[in-house]
Subunit: 301 residues, 2 copies
Amino acid sequence: MKLTVLGCYAATPRTLTNPTSQVLEVKNHMFLIDCGEGTQVQLRKHRIKFSRIKHIFISHLHGDHFFGLPGLVSTYRLLGRDKELHIYESKGIKEAITMLLKLGDSWTNYPLCFHELTSRDSELVFEDDKVSVQTIPLDHRVYTNGFLFKEKLAERKLNVEAVRYYEIDKAYYNNIKRGKDIVTEIGEIIPNKALTFDPPKPTSYAFCSDTAYNPDILPLIKEVDCLYHESTFLESEAHLAKKTKHATAKEAAKIAKEASVGKLILGHYSTRYTSIEVFKKEAFIEFDKVELANDGKVFEF
Amino acid sequence: MKLTVLGCYAATPRTLTNPTSQVLEVKNHMFLIDCGEGTQVQLRKHRIKFSRIKHIFISHLHGDHFFGLPGLVSTYRLLGRDKELHIYESKGIKEAITMLLKLGDSWTNYPLCFHELTSRDSELVFEDDKVSVQTIPLDHRVYTNGFLFKEKLAERKLNVEAVRYYEIDKAYYNNIKRGKDIVTEIGEIIPNKALTFDPPKPTSYAFCSDTAYNPDILPLIKEVDCLYHESTFLESEAHLAKKTKHATAKEAAKIAKEASVGKLILGHYSTRYTSIEVFKKEAFIEFDKVELANDGKVFEF
Protein backbone atom coordinates (compact mmCIF):
# COMPACT_ATOMS: atom_id res chain seq x y z
CA MET A 1 0.00 0.00 0.00
CA LYS A 2 1.15 3.53 -0.71
CA LEU A 3 -0.23 6.36 1.36
CA THR A 4 0.20 9.98 0.26
CA VAL A 5 -0.69 12.50 2.94
CA LEU A 6 -2.16 15.58 1.23
CA GLY A 7 -3.00 17.36 4.47
CA CYS A 8 -2.79 16.39 8.13
CA TYR A 9 -3.32 19.51 10.22
CA ALA A 10 -6.33 20.28 12.36
CA ALA A 11 -8.71 23.18 11.92
CA THR A 12 -8.28 25.78 9.24
CA PRO A 13 -5.96 25.71 6.25
CA ARG A 14 -2.85 27.86 6.61
CA THR A 15 -0.37 29.10 4.07
CA LEU A 16 1.87 26.08 4.42
CA THR A 17 -0.35 23.39 5.93
CA ASN A 18 -3.52 21.70 4.80
CA PRO A 19 -6.54 20.15 6.48
CA THR A 20 -7.10 16.39 6.36
CA SER A 21 -6.86 14.46 3.12
CA GLN A 22 -5.00 11.34 2.06
CA VAL A 23 -4.73 9.09 -0.96
CA LEU A 24 -4.31 5.35 -0.44
CA GLU A 25 -3.07 3.33 -3.40
CA VAL A 26 -3.85 -0.36 -3.10
CA LYS A 27 -4.43 -3.05 -5.72
CA ASN A 28 -4.89 -0.56 -8.53
CA HIS A 29 -7.33 1.56 -6.51
CA MET A 30 -6.77 5.19 -5.58
CA PHE A 31 -8.91 5.77 -2.50
CA LEU A 32 -9.33 9.36 -1.38
CA ILE A 33 -9.81 9.65 2.37
CA ASP A 34 -11.30 12.94 3.59
CA CYS A 35 -11.26 16.06 1.48
CA GLY A 36 -10.50 19.30 3.35
CA GLU A 37 -10.51 22.64 1.54
CA GLY A 38 -7.77 22.78 -1.09
CA THR A 39 -7.58 19.01 -1.64
CA GLN A 40 -7.82 19.34 -5.43
CA VAL A 41 -4.83 21.68 -5.44
CA GLN A 42 -2.92 19.22 -3.26
CA LEU A 43 -3.79 16.41 -5.67
CA ARG A 44 -2.35 18.43 -8.54
CA LYS A 45 0.71 19.42 -6.55
CA HIS A 46 1.51 15.79 -5.85
CA ARG A 47 0.72 14.76 -9.44
CA ILE A 48 -2.04 12.37 -8.52
CA LYS A 49 -4.29 11.78 -11.49
CA PHE A 50 -7.79 12.96 -10.63
CA SER A 51 -9.35 10.43 -12.95
CA ARG A 52 -7.93 7.46 -11.04
CA ILE A 53 -10.01 8.31 -7.97
CA LYS A 54 -13.31 6.45 -8.00
CA HIS A 55 -14.05 6.17 -4.29
CA ILE A 56 -14.00 8.93 -1.68
CA PHE A 57 -14.37 8.16 2.02
CA ILE A 58 -15.38 11.01 4.32
CA SER A 59 -14.93 10.49 8.06
CA HIS A 60 -17.26 13.19 9.35
CA LEU A 61 -18.89 16.48 8.59
CA HIS A 62 -16.54 19.01 10.15
CA GLY A 63 -15.38 21.46 7.51
CA ASP A 64 -11.70 20.59 7.73
CA HIS A 65 -12.56 17.08 6.51
CA PHE A 66 -14.95 17.80 3.62
CA PHE A 67 -15.07 21.45 2.48
CA GLY A 68 -12.89 20.54 -0.52
CA LEU A 69 -15.48 18.06 -1.79
CA PRO A 70 -17.85 20.44 -3.65
CA GLY A 71 -14.91 21.87 -5.58
CA LEU A 72 -13.55 18.45 -6.50
CA VAL A 73 -16.96 17.18 -7.58
CA SER A 74 -17.39 20.31 -9.78
CA THR A 75 -13.91 19.96 -11.24
CA TYR A 76 -14.68 16.43 -12.39
CA ARG A 77 -17.55 17.90 -14.37
CA LEU A 78 -15.29 20.47 -16.04
CA LEU A 79 -12.79 17.73 -16.85
CA GLY A 80 -15.53 15.81 -18.66
CA ARG A 81 -15.54 12.82 -16.31
CA ASP A 82 -17.91 10.05 -17.32
CA LYS A 83 -16.98 7.33 -14.83
CA GLU A 84 -18.96 6.80 -11.65
CA LEU A 85 -17.75 8.56 -8.49
CA HIS A 86 -18.65 6.90 -5.17
CA ILE A 87 -18.76 8.93 -2.01
CA TYR A 88 -19.04 7.17 1.35
CA GLU A 89 -20.07 9.67 3.97
CA SER A 90 -22.15 10.60 6.96
CA LYS A 91 -25.79 11.25 6.16
CA GLY A 92 -26.20 14.84 5.02
CA ILE A 93 -23.45 15.37 2.45
CA LYS A 94 -25.63 14.16 -0.39
CA GLU A 95 -28.17 16.87 0.34
CA ALA A 96 -25.50 19.54 0.79
CA ILE A 97 -23.52 18.72 -2.36
CA THR A 98 -26.71 18.40 -4.37
CA MET A 99 -27.85 21.81 -3.19
CA LEU A 100 -24.51 23.49 -3.93
CA LEU A 101 -24.44 22.09 -7.46
CA LYS A 102 -28.06 23.02 -8.11
CA LEU A 103 -27.40 26.60 -6.96
CA GLY A 104 -24.82 26.92 -9.70
CA ASP A 105 -27.12 25.18 -12.16
CA SER A 106 -24.24 22.78 -12.73
CA TRP A 107 -25.26 19.21 -12.03
CA THR A 108 -22.63 16.59 -12.80
CA ASN A 109 -22.54 14.91 -16.19
CA TYR A 110 -21.18 11.71 -14.61
CA PRO A 111 -22.88 9.35 -12.14
CA LEU A 112 -22.36 10.56 -8.60
CA CYS A 113 -23.23 7.78 -6.14
CA PHE A 114 -23.65 8.65 -2.49
CA HIS A 115 -23.42 5.90 0.14
CA GLU A 116 -24.80 7.43 3.32
CA LEU A 117 -23.46 5.94 6.52
CA THR A 118 -25.58 5.87 9.65
CA SER A 119 -24.62 2.69 11.53
CA ARG A 120 -22.95 2.87 14.94
CA ASP A 121 -21.43 -0.57 14.28
CA SER A 122 -18.65 -1.35 11.85
CA GLU A 123 -19.97 -2.17 8.40
CA LEU A 124 -18.51 -3.28 5.10
CA VAL A 125 -18.83 -0.36 2.68
CA PHE A 126 -16.76 -1.49 -0.29
CA GLU A 127 -15.50 -4.83 -1.52
CA ASP A 128 -14.09 -6.33 -4.69
CA ASP A 129 -12.03 -9.48 -5.27
CA LYS A 130 -8.84 -7.93 -3.92
CA VAL A 131 -9.69 -5.42 -1.23
CA SER A 132 -12.35 -4.51 1.30
CA VAL A 133 -13.16 -1.34 3.21
CA GLN A 134 -15.10 -1.25 6.45
CA THR A 135 -15.97 1.51 8.84
CA ILE A 136 -14.36 2.01 12.26
CA PRO A 137 -16.92 3.78 14.47
CA LEU A 138 -15.09 6.58 16.29
CA ASP A 139 -15.92 8.77 19.26
CA HIS A 140 -16.06 12.43 18.25
CA ARG A 141 -18.41 15.39 18.73
CA VAL A 142 -20.39 14.42 15.63
CA TYR A 143 -21.05 11.04 14.01
CA THR A 144 -17.63 9.90 12.77
CA ASN A 145 -16.17 6.84 11.07
CA GLY A 146 -12.62 5.78 10.51
CA PHE A 147 -11.95 3.35 7.68
CA LEU A 148 -10.17 0.00 7.62
CA PHE A 149 -8.65 -0.94 4.26
CA LYS A 150 -7.74 -4.63 3.95
CA GLU A 151 -6.22 -6.57 1.13
CA LYS A 152 -7.80 -9.95 0.70
CA LEU A 153 -5.69 -13.07 1.06
CA ALA A 154 -4.30 -13.72 -2.42
CA GLU A 155 -4.19 -17.14 -4.09
CA ARG A 156 -1.43 -19.52 -2.97
CA LYS A 157 1.77 -19.25 -4.99
CA LEU A 158 2.58 -22.15 -7.30
CA ASN A 159 5.81 -24.05 -6.47
CA VAL A 160 6.95 -24.39 -10.06
CA GLU A 161 9.63 -26.94 -9.30
CA ALA A 162 7.20 -29.14 -7.39
CA VAL A 163 4.46 -29.17 -10.02
CA ARG A 164 7.06 -30.04 -12.65
CA TYR A 165 8.46 -32.82 -10.48
CA TYR A 166 4.99 -34.34 -10.09
CA GLU A 167 4.35 -33.74 -13.82
CA ILE A 168 1.01 -32.07 -13.10
CA ASP A 169 -0.91 -30.80 -16.11
CA LYS A 170 -1.30 -27.02 -16.37
CA ALA A 171 -5.08 -27.45 -16.38
CA TYR A 172 -4.90 -28.08 -12.61
CA TYR A 173 -2.81 -25.01 -11.76
CA ASN A 174 -5.80 -22.77 -10.96
CA ASN A 175 -7.24 -25.33 -8.57
CA ILE A 176 -3.87 -25.74 -6.92
CA LYS A 177 -3.52 -21.96 -6.46
CA ARG A 178 -6.95 -21.99 -4.79
CA GLY A 179 -5.61 -24.51 -2.24
CA LYS A 180 -6.90 -27.81 -3.65
CA ASP A 181 -4.96 -31.07 -3.22
CA ILE A 182 -4.22 -33.16 -6.31
CA VAL A 183 -5.16 -36.80 -6.86
CA THR A 184 -2.87 -38.48 -9.39
CA GLU A 185 -4.02 -41.06 -11.94
CA ILE A 186 -2.90 -43.85 -9.65
CA GLY A 187 -4.96 -42.42 -6.77
CA GLU A 188 -2.07 -40.85 -4.89
CA ILE A 189 -2.96 -37.64 -3.04
CA ILE A 190 -0.43 -34.81 -3.29
CA PRO A 191 -1.25 -32.30 -0.56
CA ASN A 192 -1.53 -28.69 -1.63
CA LYS A 193 1.25 -27.64 0.75
CA ALA A 194 3.73 -29.69 -1.28
CA LEU A 195 2.79 -27.78 -4.43
CA THR A 196 2.47 -24.22 -3.21
CA PHE A 197 3.93 -21.50 -1.07
CA ASP A 198 1.90 -19.33 1.30
CA PRO A 199 0.64 -16.14 -0.37
CA PRO A 200 2.07 -12.86 0.91
CA LYS A 201 0.39 -11.66 4.10
CA PRO A 202 -2.37 -9.22 3.12
CA THR A 203 -1.67 -5.66 4.13
CA SER A 204 -4.09 -3.55 6.11
CA TYR A 205 -4.40 0.14 6.91
CA ALA A 206 -6.61 1.82 9.51
CA PHE A 207 -7.46 5.52 9.29
CA CYS A 208 -8.75 6.92 12.60
CA SER A 209 -9.55 10.64 12.66
CA ASP A 210 -11.12 12.45 14.47
CA THR A 211 -11.60 10.62 17.73
CA ALA A 212 -11.16 10.67 21.47
CA TYR A 213 -9.19 7.79 23.02
CA ASN A 214 -11.48 4.87 22.27
CA PRO A 215 -10.37 1.32 23.11
CA ASP A 216 -13.61 -0.01 21.56
CA ILE A 217 -11.84 0.08 18.19
CA LEU A 218 -9.08 -2.34 19.31
CA PRO A 219 -10.65 -5.59 18.01
CA LEU A 220 -11.18 -3.98 14.60
CA ILE A 221 -7.68 -2.61 14.14
CA LYS A 222 -5.84 -5.51 15.83
CA GLU A 223 -2.45 -6.07 14.16
CA VAL A 224 -3.04 -3.80 11.16
CA ASP A 225 0.18 -3.05 9.32
CA CYS A 226 -0.31 0.66 9.62
CA LEU A 227 -2.52 2.80 11.82
CA TYR A 228 -3.05 6.51 11.21
CA HIS A 229 -4.38 7.87 14.50
CA GLU A 230 -5.11 11.48 15.18
CA SER A 231 -3.12 13.25 17.89
CA THR A 232 -4.54 16.74 17.94
CA PHE A 233 -2.99 17.53 21.30
CA LEU A 234 -0.22 16.63 23.72
CA GLU A 235 -0.86 15.38 27.26
CA SER A 236 -0.24 18.93 28.51
CA GLU A 237 -3.53 19.82 26.76
CA ALA A 238 -5.36 16.63 27.79
CA HIS A 239 -8.21 18.75 29.15
CA LEU A 240 -8.74 20.23 25.67
CA ALA A 241 -8.55 16.79 24.08
CA LYS A 242 -11.24 15.58 26.46
CA LYS A 243 -13.43 18.61 25.93
CA THR A 244 -13.24 18.52 22.11
CA LYS A 245 -13.18 14.70 21.81
CA HIS A 246 -9.75 14.49 20.30
CA ALA A 247 -6.77 12.33 21.30
CA THR A 248 -3.32 13.12 22.64
CA ALA A 249 -0.15 11.65 21.15
CA LYS A 250 0.18 9.44 24.20
CA GLU A 251 -3.35 8.11 23.79
CA ALA A 252 -2.77 7.39 20.10
CA ALA A 253 0.37 5.45 21.05
CA LYS A 254 -1.54 3.49 23.69
CA ILE A 255 -4.10 2.44 21.07
CA ALA A 256 -1.25 1.43 18.72
CA LYS A 257 0.45 -0.60 21.46
CA GLU A 258 -2.72 -2.32 22.63
CA ALA A 259 -3.65 -3.21 19.03
CA SER A 260 -0.08 -4.40 18.29
CA VAL A 261 -0.03 -2.52 14.99
CA GLY A 262 2.96 -2.63 12.69
CA LYS A 263 3.40 1.11 12.52
CA LEU A 264 1.69 4.20 13.92
CA ILE A 265 1.41 7.42 11.95
CA LEU A 266 0.39 10.50 13.90
CA GLY A 267 -1.47 13.47 12.41
CA HIS A 268 -4.27 16.07 12.77
CA TYR A 269 -1.97 18.27 14.79
CA SER A 270 -3.38 21.37 16.43
CA THR A 271 -1.72 24.41 14.94
CA ARG A 272 -0.92 25.72 18.44
CA TYR A 273 2.33 23.73 18.44
CA THR A 274 5.25 25.25 16.58
CA SER A 275 6.98 21.91 15.93
CA ILE A 276 5.40 18.51 15.34
CA GLU A 277 8.42 16.61 16.67
CA VAL A 278 6.95 16.92 20.16
CA PHE A 279 4.13 14.56 19.15
CA LYS A 280 6.59 11.84 18.19
CA LYS A 281 8.54 12.31 21.38
CA GLU A 282 5.44 11.91 23.54
CA ALA A 283 4.15 8.88 21.61
CA PHE A 284 7.56 7.17 21.53
CA ILE A 285 7.47 6.55 25.29
CA GLU A 286 4.47 4.23 24.80
CA PHE A 287 5.17 2.82 21.33
CA ASP A 288 8.40 3.05 19.39
CA LYS A 289 7.23 2.31 15.83
CA VAL A 290 5.85 5.79 15.39
CA GLU A 291 6.15 8.19 12.48
CA LEU A 292 4.85 11.68 11.84
CA ALA A 293 2.50 12.47 8.97
CA ASN A 294 3.22 15.68 7.13
CA ASP A 295 1.72 17.28 4.05
CA GLY A 296 3.17 15.62 0.97
CA LYS A 297 4.81 12.75 2.88
CA VAL A 298 4.50 9.27 1.38
CA PHE A 299 4.41 6.03 3.37
CA GLU A 300 4.73 2.57 1.88
CA PHE A 301 3.85 -0.58 3.77
CA MET B 1 -8.78 52.64 -2.98
CA LYS B 2 -6.47 49.65 -2.74
CA LEU B 3 -7.41 46.45 -4.52
CA THR B 4 -5.62 43.18 -3.72
CA VAL B 5 -6.33 40.41 -6.19
CA LEU B 6 -6.31 37.09 -4.31
CA GLY B 7 -7.35 35.02 -7.31
CA CYS B 8 -8.35 35.87 -10.87
CA TYR B 9 -8.42 32.66 -12.88
CA ALA B 10 -11.49 30.92 -14.25
CA ALA B 11 -12.67 27.43 -13.37
CA THR B 12 -10.79 25.18 -10.97
CA PRO B 13 -7.95 26.08 -8.64
CA ARG B 14 -4.53 24.99 -9.84
CA THR B 15 -1.23 24.66 -8.07
CA LEU B 16 -0.20 28.22 -8.82
CA THR B 17 -3.43 30.04 -9.63
CA ASN B 18 -6.57 30.72 -7.68
CA PRO B 19 -10.25 31.21 -8.49
CA THR B 20 -11.89 34.61 -8.09
CA SER B 21 -11.45 36.64 -4.92
CA GLN B 22 -10.43 40.24 -4.23
CA VAL B 23 -10.11 42.56 -1.28
CA LEU B 24 -11.01 46.23 -1.73
CA GLU B 25 -9.74 48.64 0.92
CA VAL B 26 -11.68 51.89 0.98
CA LYS B 27 -12.39 54.40 3.77
CA ASN B 28 -11.34 51.98 6.51
CA HIS B 29 -13.44 49.14 5.05
CA MET B 30 -12.03 45.82 3.86
CA PHE B 31 -14.59 44.51 1.38
CA LEU B 32 -14.15 40.91 0.26
CA ILE B 33 -15.43 40.35 -3.28
CA ASP B 34 -16.12 36.71 -4.22
CA CYS B 35 -14.60 33.83 -2.33
CA GLY B 36 -13.36 30.92 -4.45
CA GLU B 37 -11.90 27.80 -2.83
CA GLY B 38 -8.69 28.62 -0.97
CA THR B 39 -9.53 32.28 -0.33
CA GLN B 40 -8.70 32.03 3.38
CA VAL B 41 -5.24 30.73 2.55
CA GLN B 42 -4.77 33.57 0.07
CA LEU B 43 -5.85 36.07 2.74
CA ARG B 44 -3.18 34.69 5.07
CA LYS B 45 -0.56 34.62 2.34
CA HIS B 46 -1.13 38.31 1.63
CA ARG B 47 -1.28 39.17 5.33
CA ILE B 48 -4.78 40.57 5.23
CA LYS B 49 -6.29 40.55 8.69
CA PHE B 50 -9.36 38.30 8.66
CA SER B 51 -10.99 40.33 11.41
CA ARG B 52 -11.06 43.51 9.34
CA ILE B 53 -13.47 41.96 6.84
CA LYS B 54 -17.05 42.71 7.77
CA HIS B 55 -18.74 42.60 4.37
CA ILE B 56 -18.50 39.90 1.72
CA PHE B 57 -20.00 40.39 -1.75
CA ILE B 58 -20.63 37.26 -3.85
CA SER B 59 -21.32 37.78 -7.55
CA HIS B 60 -22.96 34.44 -8.35
CA LEU B 61 -23.22 30.83 -7.34
CA HIS B 62 -20.69 29.09 -9.53
CA GLY B 63 -18.22 27.19 -7.39
CA ASP B 64 -15.15 29.16 -8.46
CA HIS B 65 -16.73 32.27 -6.92
CA PHE B 66 -17.98 30.97 -3.55
CA PHE B 67 -16.69 27.50 -2.58
CA GLY B 68 -14.23 29.14 -0.18
CA LEU B 69 -17.03 30.77 1.80
CA PRO B 70 -18.04 27.84 4.08
CA GLY B 71 -14.42 27.46 5.18
CA LEU B 72 -13.98 31.16 5.86
CA VAL B 73 -17.24 31.37 7.81
CA SER B 74 -16.12 28.35 9.90
CA THR B 75 -12.68 29.79 10.49
CA TYR B 76 -14.18 32.97 11.93
CA ARG B 77 -15.87 30.77 14.50
CA LEU B 78 -12.60 29.09 15.45
CA LEU B 79 -10.94 32.49 15.73
CA GLY B 80 -13.60 33.53 18.22
CA ARG B 81 -15.11 36.30 16.10
CA ASP B 82 -17.89 38.22 17.76
CA LYS B 83 -18.48 41.01 15.25
CA GLU B 84 -21.24 40.79 12.67
CA LEU B 85 -20.38 39.37 9.25
CA HIS B 86 -22.53 40.54 6.34
CA ILE B 87 -22.79 38.46 3.20
CA TYR B 88 -24.42 39.93 0.09
CA GLU B 89 -25.28 37.13 -2.31
CA SER B 90 -27.63 35.50 -4.72
CA LYS B 91 -30.56 33.79 -3.08
CA GLY B 92 -29.56 30.30 -2.03
CA ILE B 93 -26.26 30.73 -0.25
CA LYS B 94 -27.91 31.32 3.10
CA GLU B 95 -29.61 27.94 2.92
CA ALA B 96 -26.44 26.19 1.71
CA ILE B 97 -24.10 27.69 4.31
CA THR B 98 -26.64 27.11 7.05
CA MET B 99 -26.92 23.47 6.04
CA LEU B 100 -23.15 22.93 5.88
CA LEU B 101 -22.65 24.41 9.33
CA LYS B 102 -25.53 22.43 10.81
CA LEU B 103 -24.12 19.19 9.40
CA GLY B 104 -20.95 19.78 11.40
CA ASP B 105 -22.99 20.86 14.43
CA SER B 106 -20.95 24.04 14.36
CA TRP B 107 -23.16 27.09 14.07
CA THR B 108 -21.34 30.39 14.28
CA ASN B 109 -20.94 32.14 17.60
CA TYR B 110 -21.05 35.54 15.88
CA PRO B 111 -23.94 37.17 14.00
CA LEU B 112 -23.97 36.05 10.39
CA CYS B 113 -26.23 38.33 8.35
CA PHE B 114 -27.27 37.26 4.88
CA HIS B 115 -28.53 39.82 2.40
CA GLU B 116 -30.14 37.85 -0.40
CA LEU B 117 -30.14 39.56 -3.78
CA THR B 118 -32.89 38.85 -6.29
CA SER B 119 -33.45 42.10 -8.19
CA ARG B 120 -32.73 42.33 -11.91
CA ASP B 121 -32.21 46.09 -11.50
CA SER B 122 -29.28 47.78 -9.81
CA GLU B 123 -29.89 48.26 -6.10
CA LEU B 124 -28.06 49.89 -3.22
CA VAL B 125 -26.88 47.10 -0.92
CA PHE B 126 -24.58 48.92 1.48
CA GLU B 127 -24.15 52.52 2.53
CA ASP B 128 -22.54 54.52 5.31
CA ASP B 129 -21.44 58.15 5.49
CA LYS B 130 -18.38 57.62 3.35
CA VAL B 131 -19.05 54.87 0.85
CA SER B 132 -21.86 53.10 -1.00
CA VAL B 133 -22.09 49.76 -2.78
CA GLN B 134 -24.64 48.97 -5.45
CA THR B 135 -25.19 45.97 -7.67
CA ILE B 136 -24.41 45.88 -11.39
CA PRO B 137 -26.78 43.33 -12.98
CA LEU B 138 -24.69 41.14 -15.31
CA ASP B 139 -25.52 38.70 -18.08
CA HIS B 140 -24.29 35.20 -17.24
CA ARG B 141 -25.66 31.65 -17.24
CA VAL B 142 -26.99 32.07 -13.71
CA TYR B 143 -28.23 35.15 -11.83
CA THR B 144 -25.12 37.33 -11.42
CA ASN B 145 -24.30 40.75 -10.01
CA GLY B 146 -21.23 42.88 -10.31
CA PHE B 147 -20.65 45.51 -7.62
CA LEU B 148 -20.02 49.24 -7.85
CA PHE B 149 -18.09 50.73 -4.94
CA LYS B 150 -18.30 54.51 -4.68
CA GLU B 151 -16.79 56.94 -2.25
CA LYS B 152 -19.19 59.69 -1.30
CA LEU B 153 -18.32 63.30 -2.03
CA ALA B 154 -16.42 64.47 1.03
CA GLU B 155 -17.01 67.81 2.79
CA ARG B 156 -15.49 70.92 1.16
CA LYS B 157 -11.98 71.76 2.36
CA LEU B 158 -11.61 74.85 4.53
CA ASN B 159 -9.42 77.61 3.04
CA VAL B 160 -7.63 78.40 6.30
CA GLU B 161 -6.13 81.65 5.04
CA ALA B 162 -9.51 82.92 3.86
CA VAL B 163 -11.42 82.20 7.06
CA ARG B 164 -8.66 83.92 9.05
CA TYR B 165 -8.77 86.93 6.72
CA TYR B 166 -12.52 87.28 7.22
CA GLU B 167 -12.05 86.63 10.99
CA ILE B 168 -14.77 83.95 10.99
CA ASP B 169 -15.45 82.27 14.31
CA LYS B 170 -14.55 78.55 14.50
CA ALA B 171 -18.16 77.77 15.42
CA TYR B 172 -19.07 78.32 11.74
CA TYR B 173 -16.40 76.01 10.29
CA ASN B 174 -18.64 72.91 10.10
CA ASN B 175 -21.34 74.81 8.23
CA ILE B 176 -18.75 76.21 5.84
CA LYS B 177 -17.36 72.74 5.15
CA ARG B 178 -20.91 71.62 4.34
CA GLY B 179 -21.10 74.35 1.66
CA LYS B 180 -22.94 77.13 3.48
CA ASP B 181 -22.29 80.82 2.74
CA ILE B 182 -21.51 83.14 5.66
CA VAL B 183 -23.37 86.33 6.58
CA THR B 184 -21.16 88.71 8.60
CA GLU B 185 -22.42 90.90 11.46
CA ILE B 186 -22.81 93.83 9.08
CA GLY B 187 -24.92 91.72 6.72
CA GLU B 188 -22.25 91.12 4.14
CA ILE B 189 -22.51 87.70 2.38
CA ILE B 190 -19.25 85.79 1.92
CA PRO B 191 -19.89 83.09 -0.67
CA ASN B 192 -18.75 79.60 0.28
CA LYS B 193 -16.45 79.39 -2.73
CA ALA B 194 -14.31 82.17 -1.25
CA LEU B 195 -13.83 80.17 1.95
CA THR B 196 -13.30 76.62 0.70
CA PHE B 197 -11.63 74.43 -1.85
CA ASP B 198 -13.36 71.64 -3.78
CA PRO B 199 -13.12 68.26 -2.01
CA PRO B 200 -11.10 65.54 -3.74
CA LYS B 201 -13.02 63.75 -6.50
CA PRO B 202 -14.56 60.58 -5.01
CA THR B 203 -13.06 57.37 -6.31
CA SER B 204 -15.14 54.54 -7.73
CA TYR B 205 -14.49 50.88 -8.58
CA ALA B 206 -16.66 48.52 -10.62
CA PHE B 207 -16.26 44.75 -10.38
CA CYS B 208 -17.83 42.90 -13.32
CA SER B 209 -17.43 39.12 -13.34
CA ASP B 210 -18.78 36.83 -14.78
CA THR B 211 -20.60 38.32 -17.74
CA ALA B 212 -21.12 38.28 -21.46
CA TYR B 213 -20.55 41.56 -23.33
CA ASN B 214 -23.36 43.64 -21.89
CA PRO B 215 -23.65 47.37 -22.86
CA ASP B 216 -26.65 47.69 -20.50
CA ILE B 217 -24.14 48.27 -17.69
CA LEU B 218 -22.62 51.37 -19.35
CA PRO B 219 -24.74 54.03 -17.57
CA LEU B 220 -23.90 52.47 -14.20
CA ILE B 221 -20.14 52.24 -14.68
CA LYS B 222 -19.75 55.53 -16.63
CA GLU B 223 -16.38 57.14 -15.82
CA VAL B 224 -15.50 54.91 -12.88
CA ASP B 225 -11.87 55.26 -11.93
CA CYS B 226 -11.24 51.56 -12.24
CA LEU B 227 -13.18 48.76 -13.93
CA TYR B 228 -12.39 45.09 -13.37
CA HIS B 229 -14.01 43.26 -16.26
CA GLU B 230 -13.74 39.58 -16.92
CA SER B 231 -12.05 38.39 -20.10
CA THR B 232 -12.28 34.65 -19.95
CA PHE B 233 -11.47 34.26 -23.63
CA LEU B 234 -9.79 35.89 -26.61
CA GLU B 235 -11.65 36.74 -29.83
CA SER B 236 -10.31 33.50 -31.33
CA GLU B 237 -12.62 31.71 -28.87
CA ALA B 238 -15.54 34.15 -29.27
CA HIS B 239 -17.85 31.22 -29.99
CA LEU B 240 -17.03 29.76 -26.55
CA ALA B 241 -17.51 33.15 -24.92
CA LYS B 242 -20.95 33.40 -26.48
CA LYS B 243 -21.90 29.85 -25.56
CA THR B 244 -20.78 30.15 -21.92
CA LYS B 245 -21.82 33.79 -21.48
CA HIS B 246 -18.35 35.11 -20.85
CA ALA B 247 -16.53 38.04 -22.45
CA THR B 248 -13.45 38.30 -24.64
CA ALA B 249 -10.60 40.72 -23.92
CA LYS B 250 -11.74 42.82 -26.87
CA GLU B 251 -15.29 43.00 -25.53
CA ALA B 252 -14.06 44.00 -22.07
CA ALA B 253 -12.00 46.78 -23.68
CA LYS B 254 -15.01 47.98 -25.69
CA ILE B 255 -17.03 48.29 -22.49
CA ALA B 256 -14.14 50.20 -20.87
CA LYS B 257 -13.87 52.56 -23.84
CA GLU B 258 -17.59 53.19 -24.12
CA ALA B 259 -17.83 53.89 -20.38
CA SER B 260 -14.72 56.13 -20.48
CA VAL B 261 -13.29 54.48 -17.39
CA GLY B 262 -10.00 55.59 -15.88
CA LYS B 263 -8.40 52.15 -16.00
CA LEU B 264 -9.40 48.65 -17.07
CA ILE B 265 -8.19 45.57 -15.22
CA LEU B 266 -8.66 42.25 -16.99
CA GLY B 267 -9.11 38.88 -15.22
CA HIS B 268 -10.97 35.57 -14.97
CA TYR B 269 -8.69 34.09 -17.60
CA SER B 270 -9.45 30.66 -18.97
CA THR B 271 -6.64 28.32 -18.06
CA ARG B 272 -6.36 27.20 -21.71
CA TYR B 273 -3.97 30.09 -22.43
CA THR B 274 -0.36 29.60 -21.41
CA SER B 275 0.36 33.33 -21.08
CA ILE B 276 -1.97 36.11 -19.96
CA GLU B 277 -0.10 38.79 -21.92
CA VAL B 278 -2.24 37.92 -24.95
CA PHE B 279 -5.30 39.34 -23.17
CA LYS B 280 -3.62 42.72 -22.71
CA LYS B 281 -2.47 42.74 -26.32
CA GLU B 282 -5.99 42.11 -27.62
CA ALA B 283 -7.62 44.67 -25.32
CA PHE B 284 -4.99 47.33 -26.01
CA ILE B 285 -6.19 47.77 -29.61
CA GLU B 286 -9.53 49.08 -28.28
CA PHE B 287 -8.45 50.75 -25.04
CA ASP B 288 -4.92 51.58 -23.95
CA LYS B 289 -5.35 52.09 -20.20
CA VAL B 290 -5.45 48.37 -19.57
CA GLU B 291 -3.73 46.26 -16.94
CA LEU B 292 -3.68 42.56 -16.14
CA ALA B 293 -4.89 41.20 -12.82
CA ASN B 294 -2.81 38.42 -11.35
CA ASP B 295 -2.94 36.56 -8.06
CA GLY B 296 -1.33 38.69 -5.39
CA LYS B 297 -1.19 41.86 -7.51
CA VAL B 298 -2.15 45.14 -5.83
CA PHE B 299 -3.73 48.12 -7.60
CA GLU B 300 -4.11 51.57 -6.08
CA PHE B 301 -6.36 54.22 -7.55
